[in-house]
């Protein structure tokens, strides 16, 4: 059962959040943009391609590259 988090857990969670935010900020703008359009705007790959006028393949590779980096950051905390 999960009682309210300990001060240490709170600190760890804030560290995770800050680390991920930093990694998102460190992404090249074009990668950050496709991640944002996916999550915040809920756009499919085709919709992203149409919205910002880049090929579908480019959308896919930017998503893969950005996820690779972000997962790596989160992976440090697993």
């Amino acid at each position: 059962p999960n009682d309210s988090p300990t001060p240490l857990q709170n600190m760890e969670q804030s560290t995770i959040v800050e680390s991920v935010k930093r990694s998102i900020g460190d992404l090249p703008e074009d990668q950050r943009e496709v991640v944002r359009l996916s999550f915040i705007e809920g756009l499919s790959h085709q919709e992203i391609s149409d919205a910002i006028g880049i090929p579908l393949g480019t959308v896919k590779s930017r998503l893969r590259l950005s996820f690779e980096k972000l997962r790596h950051t989160l992976g440090d905390f697993q």
């Binding site: 988090p5 709170n10 969670q13 991640v35 944002r36 705007e41 998503l63 690779e68």
Partner: protein
Amino acid sequence: MTVNHHPHDDLLLSYAAGSLSETWSLAVASHLSLCAECQRTIELAETIGGILFADMPDERMSSDALDHVLAQIDQPSGEAASANTRLALDKRAAVSTTFPRVLCEYVGHDVDDVPWKSIGGEVYQHLIKTADKSARARLLRIAAGKTVPSHGHRGRELTLVLSGSYQDGLSLFSAGDMEDVDEELVHKPIADTATDCICLVITDAPIKFKEWVPRLLQPMIGI
């Protein structure tokens, strides 16, 4: 079951974001029910999504948004906010099925009573109806040892092996594996010789068969 082949990250990311359309989501959800590794990937993606939302300008977020994000980190996946076309993985214990449960719900049958239709060469298919017309979903059953005619794609093709296995070039795909292929690849999967191979196949454009005869049949068999 050891799963060796997975969908590419862009598909998993979009699924986690809720921005993947229904037909593709069906394939990803089915694979997830068989693959613990990809379930963890989805959890990671959801955590990232939660942090993205928490980082947005204040007027779009409620005051306890950050608490919600932190709670997500502790309890991923099950409590994640579902979005648009995201298919919920049914984790309740109920009637056990051979096919992933989400797939059974779409097909309306389990593996033993799929109404197969022959499309020639000991290959059978069953088209799956979805509301999303951007892609086609079908179950494919290839008799042991048979070859799917050589074909290229005009788009992406996902193949989830449900039972049996097939060889594609140098790689072996067996139950739980998902082959995620883009349009450059021309391939000719060969079913394993021991048993029939049953797969869920999603395509986003008509398949271009290389041989003359299959191309004639295409309108009739709905590829």
